[in-house]
Amino acid sequence: MMFWESKPQRRRLLFLLLLATLSPGCGGPEAGDASPGFFMDKGQLEAQRAEKIHRGEGLYRYYCLLCHGEEGRGDGYNASTLEVPPRDLADQSFMRKVSEEQLYSVVARGSSAIGKSPLCPPWGRVLKEEEIRDLIVYVRNLGRGAPFSAQGLN
């Protein structure tokens, strides 16, 4: 007698086959074995930061360079005419102590907003928030070893 000819055996067989049909299967790439860090894309983050610096550089050269100079050292074309010299933005020993919020205040509301001379004007109504943030990223990058070169971005 063939194994499928007895009733209880048939039932068992059918049950097994039905069970097999209902299995979900293990499809798809990278499911289940992923750790949280697996998803972060370091290259992408780096590229985004480089973008911010590039945009910030454009803004710096247009709005800030005339007083703060090519490398942020406070030696711009207009600096010699000012009673109070422009801040050396590449001086990491000083910049390290300046918080993000303070930097944002200076750019958006002028140097008078943090108790300094009024010579650095407020740009908050001229620049958008993202632009000011990009500018801050650029300024933080000044004087950090070799400044991140915008030419490398291509």
């Binding site: 894309d41 007083c67 005419t81 010579l119």
Partner: protein, 724 residues
């Protein structure tokens, strides 16, 4: 019998099982599962239970663990597209996922909020195959799909079909470049913007037809009377290598050999224009102080009969003193604002370093006297010089030579000009090379462009492009082909005719983005986004003022309304901004306003009558009533004004204006001097300007201090009092 039944039913069961398993192993389900893992691993925003609850800003339901994985699609009826991209790109609108790997990364920039997917979908900008659900197919990287995905740089090319530019018949000088549209810049698409500008500026449209680029002013000067203007030896050298004479010229190098260049030279030198070389429009300047000298000296210019202008020895009239005077006239008139000499100067006109090699003396005198009699759409203004001044200036300029001898070539050319065969060859070359695309040439008015039409270049499939010798050596994409073509036009085959026109790698990249954007695709009207500007049908200024404007070519640098360039301040409301006294004095002797700028207004030597015309028109017509509002009416008497003035003085210190502006001897050199600002600017204008500078000049360095009306008025009163 039963065995067969058993086997068949088993086979059916197995195939059923296989189908179910295959369906459950779909690629996109795997991605959705992976996304779940990602979400589970994210740091929580508000400390609620892991994975459950609402995180703000999401529009799509998370697939839950019961296996409710589904295909998500956007159906766009107006565009005839169905996009299933959100099936795998689940994090596209989640800004916290900016740094994760694809396909879960969020969309960069403000593009998604500006172009909501429900209305635009994905493939209308990124292309690819929207209905596919496997990555490779969805990205269009399969055989026969005509629209593969565009990468990050080229996706800008999609902007063109909804954000087209509108072209002007006459070029404007914007940002120092000669462009045919004011609206090239598209925020968020820098490569496309640059590509558009290059296409207009370099004259690609002169040889390649593109829809919309019709009836534009020709980029080069007319050649109908070139015989009067240039020395034949120069013309030969120029045709062989334009950039040897003018490094920045847009005239391409056609790679002509000696024979071809000689043929072209002899042909061009036979051209005659229907109009006589001296036109009656060249009347002396009305109201000009040098009227008498002009009329008296006219005979020396040569007016009647055939001008003896050809092959004149140029050294004949030079002498030291005259050359020195000419040099002073050159400096005084500020010709360097437009022309460069010894590497310094403007770029609007050609460099004058070797002008003595190029032009004939009589032509140059005539040119300075009245440029538009030779070249009607030239940007050169008509300076008011006396005859002696003209001669001195020309004497000085013709001293600028390279010092190379060219007599042998002159002889050769003289012989060639009698060779009719060669002349015919020259004519044939003109027809073949398409010189008439950029230059007006008699007899070639109705020719069509010589290069292939590019209106639908972006719609070409890569199989339609001829890779020639480089087949298999560069990427098999339209972008790679275009980039290669722009950098080395004849590299694909030896028989190609496109001339060399140097582009840097960045320029070639930008231009290739623009070229692939020319798909000729029509979008529904609701999606078209045209820049709103005043109608270009508006009349330019008329009457005596209009004539002066055209004579002096003010619109090269200045603008009134939508007409004109942006190299100098806009004059649309100049009458409300400055006092008439200052304006008249400025026309007489334009002085430096802003120390950091290098370009200066040239000195035209205008007569008092002409100055009066200009100043009066500005005072009466170029005004803005809102700016002119009488502020004094609200302040009673001198005491009130002096109180406000005191307040204003304090504000001037408090705001740190001295950092950029000079008053007396102290202050910065970024903005205009304030010492006598009250004599220059009107009080109403100072008020409006201080309230919101960027409204009048969007890129101004003047900060917006957020002043109240009272504060701005106080400052305006103070500044208007600074008149000494």
């Amino acid at each position: 019998m039963y065995q067969w039944f058993a086997i068949l039913s088993l086979a059916v069961l197995v195939s059923f099982e296989a189908t179910v398993m295959w369906d459950s192993r779909r690629e996109w389900k795997g991605w959705q599962r992976a996304f779940e893992t990602l979400e589970g691993s994210l740091p929580l925003a508000n400390g609620t239970a892991k994975g459950k609850g609402d995180s703000g800003g999401r529009t799509k339901r998370r697939p839950d663990r019961n296996g409710a994985y589904e295909i998500r699609q956007i159906v766009l009826d107006p565009l005839g597209r169905i996009d299933r991209c959100p099936t795998c790109h689940l994090g596209i609108d989640r800004s916290e996922l900016a740094g994760v790997r694809q396909p879960f990364r969020s969309h960069p920039g403000p593009f998604l909020s500006q172009h909501p997917p429900e209305r635009f979908g994905c493939t209308s900008c990124h292309r690819g195959q929207g209905m596919a659900t496997r990555a490779l197919a969805a990205h269009g990287r399969v055989e026969d799909w005509p629209e593969p995905l565009w990468t990050a740089l080229y996706v800008q090319a999609s902007c063109e079909k909804c954000h087209p530019i509108s072209l002007l018949r006459e070029p404007v000088f914007l940002q120092g470049r000669k462009l045919f549209s004011r609206y090239n810049d598209l925020e968020g698409a820098p490569l496309l913007s640059e590509g558009r500008k290059l296409f207009q500026e370099r004259g690609c449209w002169a040889c390649h037809k593109v829809e919309g680029y019709r009836g534009l002013e020709k980029l080069g000067p007319p050649l109908s009377r070139i015989r009067e203007k240039v020395r034949p030896a120069w013309l030969l050298q120029w045709l062989k290598d334009p950039r040897a004479y003018l490094p920045r010229t847009i005239m391409p190098n056609f790679g002509l050999n000696q024979q071809q260049a000689m043929a072209l030279t002899s042909y061009l030198l036979t051209l005659e224009s229907a109009t006589p070389s001296v036109t009656p429009s060249a009347l002396p300047y009305p109201g000009s102080a040098s009227l008498k000298t002009v009329a008296g000296g006219a005979a020396s210019i040569e007016i009647q009969g055939k001008p003896r202008l050809e092959n004149e020895p140029s050294g004949a009239h030079l002498d030291e003193a005259a050359s020195e005077r000419g040099s002073q006239i050159f400096r005084r008139s500020r010709c360097v604002s437009c022309h460069s000499l010894d590497g310094r100067g403007g770029l609007l006109g050609p460099a004058l370093d070797q002008i003595g090699d190029k032009v004939n003396r009589a032509w140059l005198i005539r040119w300075i006297y009245d440029p538009r009699s030779y070249y009607p759409s030239s940007h050169m203004p008509r300076f008011r010089f006396s005859q002696e001044e003209r001669e001195d200036l020309v004497g000085y300029l013709l001293g600028k030579r390279s010092g190379e001898e060219s007599t042998r070539e002159e002889e050769l050319i003289n012989m060639a000009r009698k060779d009719r065969e060669l002349i015919r060859e020259g004519r044939r070359l003109v027809k073949e090379l398409g010189c008439f695309g950029c230059h007006e040439i008699p007899g070639f008015d109705r020719e069509t462009e010589v290069g292939p039409e590019l209106t639908r270049f972006g719609g070409k499939r890569v199989e339609e492009l001829d890779f020639g010798k480089l087949a298999g050596k560069i990427g098999f994409t339209p972008q790679a082909w275009t980039l290669k073509k722009l950098q080395a036009p004849r590299v694909f085959r030896g028989t190609l005719k496109m001339p060399d026109s140097p582009l840097s790698t960045e320029e070639a990249g930008a231009l290739s983005v623009y070229l692939v954007s020319l798909t000729g695709e029509q979008v529904p009207a609701a999606y078209l986004h045209r820049k709103k500007g005043r109608s270009s049908e508006e009349l330019p200024p008329q009457g005596a003022f209009g004539r002066l404007l055209r004579d002096l070519r003010c619109f090269t640098c200045h603008s009134i309304g939508e007409k004109g360039g942006d190299l100098a301040p806009a004059l649309s409301i100049e009458g409300s901004q400055v006092t008439e006294e200052w304006l008249s004095e400025f026309f007489r002797r334009p002085n430096f306003l802003r120390p950091i700028l290098t370009a200066r207004m040239p000195v035209f030597n205008l007569s008092p009558g002409e100055i009066r015309t200009l100043a009066e028109y500005m005072r009466v017509v170029l005004v803005d009533d809102k700016v002119d509002q009488d502020l004094d009416g609200t302040l009673e008497g001198g005491k009130e004004r002096s109180r406000m003035s005191g307040e204003g003085a304090q504000m001037y210190e408090r705001l740190g204006c001295r950092g950029c502006h000079q008053v007396g001897l102290s202050g910065g050199s970024i903005g205009p001097e304030m010492t006598r600002v009250g004599a220059r600017l009107k009080e109403g204008w100072i008020f409006q300007w201080l309230k919101s500078p960027q409204r009048y000049r969007p890129r101004s360095l003047q900060p917006d201090y957020g002043l109240s009306d009272h504060e701005a008025r106080a400052l305006a009163v103070y500044l208007a009092n600074l008149k000494q």
